[in-house]
Amino acid sequence: MPPSQRRLDRSLDLFTGLLVLAFVAFCLFPLGWTLLTSLKPEADIVTATLQYIPQHVTLENYVTLWQQSDFPTLVTNSVVVTSITGLICLTIGTLAAYSFSRYRFRGRGKLLIFYLVIRMFPVVLMIIPLFIMMRNLGLLDSRFGLALAYTTFLLPLCIWMLKGFFDAIPLELEEAARIDGCTRLGALVRVVLPLARSGLVTTAVFVAIVAWNEFLFAMMMTTSQGSRTWPVGLQLMVGEFQLPWGPLSAGGILSIIPIIIFFALVQQSLIRGLTAGAVKG
């Protein structure tokens, strides 16, 4: 490699590194401030002069949060709802996306657009009819019911996203499998899915995050004794007469942790899926 190319590469590396660093700083700054705030006692948060480094570090905000908001129950509910949503979305969505990606049938284009258009209606107005429907089905205040509600507005997104990833996988591979005697389902499961793994995981992460953070439906359809989820519990802390900055910040930090764990776990398969993605020879 000529030295000028190496120099170009080096300076590009530096530039890339700086750019990434800038983005990371932009992303982490508010989170860092949230973390610092969560460790300060209230007297040090609402003061005339700003305290950067906490003079008194305390975990009382986390304790308050744990006790006052019934944290374990809320988080469990959120985890369950998110898992069910992810499972349903990904299985049903994969089937539909595969169909859209591989088959040309009458009404394909229109159906694709239809799925998208249906999503364009503001959620705000759908809540009451959906509420009535859930009640009739006996699914009100149940984790499955909430997951179902989430699935319906996440499904079209899933299908569009997954279709994009499936589109990127060349047909030759499935054709080869079929020639070898594989059924279409077999080709889907054994050839396409592994190659689309990074796309699947990405979509799964997306679904998980949206379901985890969703507030409006959860607030309307759950109760505190039933399946109330974490974001509703957080919002409740924003009382009309008091905004407890300490516990709210603690809540913010705690919200992120399960998702980070989830993402860290799937990060590995993201990488593995990628190296298997190239079409060799």
Binding site: T47, F131, N136, E174, Q225, G239, E240
Partner: protein, 430 residues
């Protein structure tokens, strides 16, 4: 791309699901999912009731827990499920519940919301029960005004939001001012004298963000403009203009208010007072404990809000508990009326600072003995009750507040804003 090609190597299945059948199947499947299933109205459970409220901060919840404890001790056979809903989202959830006919047994009711709740036919008429209630005489007539429509009573008073004013004692001393202002003229004067940009001090923490609409409406009335008379819009434009001009000039002309006012809501005005940015603050007794967290008795005092030229701006609103279902009525009534008894009312007040609604309880030593509460007792005497007409809440939030904000930001003159508010009121009442 694959197209549907029959592969001769494979055995075709007997049935063919073509597009038409697919659509039929979908339609049937969808219809099946839509049938009303097991969710009919539930059979009344003899000993369990639920209660919806919008207490959300820690002190309020502690107060509620104490009252609940006392109630359960007095009625061990009853099971109470309480459900807290953020105040901002309360009406949304309430509306959905009414539409789906899935309502709680009891609920918290504010006067401002009574009109809307009643218009949805959601509250149970409690007139007979109240008339036969032994505690009824402890409650003067004005307590019932906020929960009655057409002489029918829909709830029992639980406690009161009493408006008052906090002021910095030490700042007044420094400025050589004898005592807190009692009229709006004095108020403006005091605010000007307390403002000191060099020290980062402003005289008054104006709430022109969320929640500020109530103060603006109070101001209109204090300058002599009625709001609604016999169900019709009755705003006097010239008096309303004067009110708006006076109040907005605190910000635009005299600059005695922090520049963040147009977006300042409860949190901001409280923080500005606690951090020593403002010298006077208008709120209610419920925030006393919060102010005490940052300021000592030498630093602040409480007083009745200053009076306007033709009326007071002190607002007094009672919080009620009402019933929504006829099942479990006796148990629900037991809970709703429990708040009126002396012991729970006093303990609730001690925890939260919310004033008792019962006149008798208000004479309890624990109330009269507290030096801060002198202002509250006086405010209860002169306070104005909130408006209850259907759409009051919406008019305040969606017409009055933005119009007032536009005066502050220079997009409207006071007279234009007054006209906008009057027009909006007519529209809401039509």
């Amino acid at each position: 791309m694959f197209v549907d090609d029959p592969d001769p190597r494979l055995h075709p299945l007997p049935h063919r699901l073509d597009r038409r059948r697919f659509l039929q199947a979908s339609a049937m499947g969808a219809a099946a999912l839509m049938l009303p299933g097991c969710g009919g109205p539930q059979a009344p459970d003899g000993s369990r009731i639920n209660y919806w409220h919008h207490f959300t901060n820690q002190t309020e919840i502690r107060g509620l827990q104490r009252v609940t404890e006392m109630f359960l001790a007095a009625h061990p056979d009853i099971d109470l499920l309480q459900e807290n809903i953020p105040n901002k989202d309360f009406m949304a959830k309430f509306t959905a519940a009414v539409q789906a006919q899935s309502v709680p047994d009891t609920t918290m009711v504010t006067s401002e919301r009574l009109g809307n709740m009643h218009a949805m036919n959601s509250l149970v008429d409690l007139t007979d029960r109240v008339d036969n209630w032994p505690m009824r005489p402890d409650y003067p007539e004005d307590r019932w005004q906020g929960i009655s429509i057409d002489d029918k009573i829909y709830g029992v008073p639980a406690f009161a939001f009493v408006d008052w004013m906090y002021y910095r004692l030490d700042w007044l001393e420094e400025a050589g001012i004898a005592g807190p202002p009692t009229t709006l003229e004095e108020f403006q004067d005091t605010a000007i004298r307390l403002t000191d940009p060099a020290k980062g001090r402003y005289g008054f923490g104006m709430r022109a963000g969320d929640g500020g609409q109530f103060i603006v409406v109070d101001m209109l009335e204090a300058f002599g403009s009625p709001i609604v008379v016999d169900g019709k819009a009755a705003i006097d434009i010239s008096k309303a203009t004067e009110a708006l001009r006076f109040f907005s000039e605190l910000f635009t002309v005299h600059k005695v208010v922090p520049p963040s006012a147009p977006n300042d809501s409860y949190r901001q005005i409280m923080e500005s007072f606690r951090t020593g940015q403002t010298g006077m603050l208008w709120h209610g007794t419920g925030s006393l404990t919060e102010v005490q967290r940052s300021l000592s008795a030498q630093q602040f005092g409480t007083a009745v809000k200053p009076a306007g030229p033709e009326g007071v701006i002190t607002r007094l609103s009672y919080l009620y508990n009402g019933m929504m279902k006829a099942d479990n009525a006796d148990i629900a009534w037991a809970w709703v009326s429990f708040w009126g008894e002396t012991a729970p009312a006093v303990e609730f007040m001690e925890i939260t600072g919310y004033f008792p609604a019962s006149a008798r309880v208000a004479q309890d030593e624990r109330v009269t003995g507290n030096p801060y509460f002198a202002a509250a007792v006086e405010s209860v005497r002169i306070g104005r009750l909130p408006h209850q007409f259907v759409g009051a809440d919406a008019w305040g939030r969606l017409t009055v507040l933005p119009a007032f904000q536009k005066i502050l930001t220079g997009d409207r003159t006071p007279v234009q804003a007054a006209e906008e508010m009057a027009a909006g009121l007519e529209k809401i009442l039509s």
